[in-house]
């Protein structure tokens, strides 16, 4: 079905089902309960899951398959956001032209940076991409101010031409981003008993695109092209002496993953129509590397899981403040309570990065294959009790590099 074998097709169906049910699945705790703060079923966060999932899926096509570790993919994310906002300013607030332009611009941008960076491999490649991304960040921040609006960031204003759409909405504001009239911000709230589920147009738009992006990457993984990319990671010498030119293959992978990043950037702007230079900063590039490694390099689901994991904890942990901690630990004796809170508060709120760093270390040390490996281990524990048949799990998780696979 759809050019997939049965196993992959089933896998895709599961992914679709999970994505569609996300607003329900991520809202397990009743409104007003103590645990409600761990709910993640609100539009802004769910949109981020889908968008950063796309970013990481694309990044994995380069890093997971070829092993080329780019530290500059945020440059394409930023380029995508700027392109989309420009379309909102010039054409209309419909998100489609913005997304199309973003994919084209980031693709061309990736072609340029990839063409130069791929003259080197290994650490030199990583450094080159990092240097390019930092250059882009600085250009966006200062030199290219007419295009990027410098440190203020690019925004939509009432004076923008928007030649195909409305300049000003009926209420006197800038019109909202929309898909042929369907506002990205519009939501439908469904109360069920003590629960309340939010179905947001923006989320579903991102989710459908994420599914397409996932499907595309699944096809690439199973294609001869994907096979060549994996061969590049394993042994370039053999590949060259087998009559294959590795350069255009890596460049194609680089451009494709750059286009994914541009798409993600455009979606960020579609959900919230602004673009700033900080989106191109090296921390943003590093984040997608962490997502991919945390989830499982070279696996289909890993990057998505990693993106969800990081974005979830970033949101939840950074929301927890001293007051919340006091509530939690109020049962402790006063002196002890203060000590515990003093320790804990370094790991929450703006200190969340400390927690993410620790989590990352734990995963890399104990689960070198990422969260997917964790899942496989748990699944294997259950399976061992059942038949030893069906051991061919590799289908979903194409070979990982040796240090990851062991």
């Amino acid at each position: 079905m759809l050019g997939l074998n049965n196993k992959d097709f089933r896998f895709l169906l599961i992914v679709i089902a999970l994505t569609m049910a996300t607003p329900i699945l991520l809202q397990p705790f009743p409104e007003g309960s103590v645990m409600a703060q761990f709910n993640a079923g609100y539009p802004d966060l769910m949109q981020r899951f889908a968008i950063f999932g796309i970013f990481a899926i694309g990044f994995n096509i380069l890093f997971g398959l070829t092993g080329y570790l780019s530290f500059g993919h945020a440059a394409f994310l930023g380029a995508g956001s700027y392109s989309a906002v420009w379309m909102f300013k010039l054409l209309s607030m419909n998100v489609i032209p913005g997304i199309i332009l973003a994919i084209i611009v980031s693709g061309l941008f990736a072609l340029l940076i990839g063409y130069i960076s791929l003259r080197r491999s290994g650490i030199y490649f990583s450094i080159l991409t990092l240097a390019f991304a930092q250059m882009s960040f600085n250009l966006a921040y200062s030199v290219l101010t007419p295009i990027t609006n410098g440190e203020t960031g690019l925004q939509v204003t009432l004076n923008d031409p928007r030649i195909l759409g409305q300049q000003v909405a009926a209420n006197g504001n800038v019109p909202p981003t929309n898909l042929f009239g369907l506002e990205m911000g519009s939501s439908f709230k469904l109360p069920v008993g003590a629960w309340e589920f939010t179905f947001n147009a923006g989320y579903y738009f991102c989710a459908v695109i994420a599914i397409l992006a996932f499907y595309l990457s699944l096809r690439i993984f199973r294609s001869p092209f994907g096979l060549m990319l994996r061969a590049i990671k394993t042994n370039q010498t053999r590949l060259n002496y087998t009559g294959l030119n590795s350069r255009p293959y890596t460049l194609a992978a680089f451009v494709i993953s750059g286009m994914y990043a541009g798409l993600a950037g455009a979606l960020l702007a579609s959900m919230d129509p602004l673009a700033g230079a900080e989106r191109m900063q090296w921390t943003a590039s590093g984040e997608v590397v962490l997502m991919t490694i945390l989830g499982g390099v070279g696996t289909m689901m890993g990057p998505v899981l990693g993106a969800g994991f990081i974005k979830y904890f970033e949101n939840i942990f950074s929301k927890i403040n001293e007051n919340v901690l006091h509530q939690w630990f109020s049962w402790l004796p006063d002196g002890l309570e203060n000590i515990v809170i003093w320790v804990a508060e370094h790991f929450v709120g703006s200190g969340w990065h400390l927690t993410s760093g620790l989590l990352f270390m734990l995963v890399v040390i104990f689960l070198p294959g990422g969260l997917v490996e964790g899942g496989q281990r748990i699944a294997a524990m259950f399976k061992r009790k059942k038949a030893d048949d069906d051991s061919d799990d590799a289908g979903h998780h194409p070979k990982q590099s040796p240090h990851v696979a062991e």
Binding site: S223, P224, F225, M228, Y241, T242, L244, A252, S401
Partner: protein, 251 residues
């Protein structure tokens, strides 16, 4: 005219004349061995055929075209496949995937963006690859991870990967170096089988006289970067100069 014509090839490394005026002609459908003591320049010479090194002087013509200045993948596309001293295979991939890559390279050339096809839909290529695995007795290992195999099997796989491309010339650089006797004999048998089953031209660099005399139809003896003699195995065995320069040391 041989399929590979080497004329006056010279190569210096700093002050060392690694190759000087090498002339050599490999005839179609023969196994041509290049032997010589350590440091004679055998590997250097082979590297000049495959695009890894460019000689300072002379020419290397393959099938009527110069190979000099071409990259390894271009030379492979001309019809030269190479087996390495330590097997170079795709360790993270399984045996069948290892076999499919040269099949694609042969059919589609050095690059093709076939991102929407499926590897397993290429029935013709899959069949070719499987047939080759049958020929080298590895078909039962086709789902095995390549890096988990024994060294002998890796060598077998590497040869299968080269042979499935039906190269006009197969180059082998010390295919049995560092192998146990049993593996060496296996490799000899494999090469003999291959030779019987299909027309193939091979140039083989080898230290092991047992291997050389079991396979070669022509032998070139290289010493200090220049060919000493070129002749049939029988004549080489008895040649006084060769005994002095090479066999004397080896035995």
């Amino acid at each position: 005219m041989g399929i590979l014509e080497v004329k006056d090839v010279g190569k210096r490394f700093g002050g060392l004349q690694a190759l000087g005026d090498v002339n050599l002609s490999v005839q179609e459908n023969t196994v041509h061995a290049i032997i010589g003591p350590n440091g004679a320049g055998k590997s250097t010479l082979l590297n000049c055929f495959v695009g890894k090194l460019i000689p300072d002087t002379g020419s290397v013509m393959f099938d009527g075209q110069s190979v000099l200045g071409r990259t390894p993948y271009e030379i492979n596309q001309m019809g030269i496949s190479r087996v390495f001293q330590t097997p170079e295979i795709f360790g993270d991939l399984d045996v069948m995937e290892n076999m499919m890559i040269p099949c694609f390279a042969k059919r589609d050339g050095s690059f093709r963006l076939h991102a929407f096809e499926r590897v397993n839909d290429e029935k013709e290529l899959v069949e070719q690859a499987e047939q080759m695995l049958i020929d080298v007795n590895m078909i039962d290992k086709r789902h095995m991870n390549a890096s988990s195999m024994s060294r002998g099997d890796k060598r077998r796989l590497e040869m299968a990967m080269c042979l499935v491309q039906e190269p006009k010339l197969l180059l082998l650089d010390e295919p049995t170096a560092g192998m146990a006797r049993a593996d060496t004999n296996n490799t000899i048998d494999l090469l003999k089988e291959i030779k019987e089953k299909r027309d193939i031209t091979m140039a083989i660099i080898e230290h092991d006289m047992h291997v050389v005399f079991s396979l070669a139809e022509r032998i070139t003896v290289l010493a200090q970067g220049t060919p000493l003699v070129e002749d049939t195995p029988e004549n080489i065995k008895g040649h006084p100069k060769v005994r002095e320069a090479y066999l004397g040391e080896a035995h």
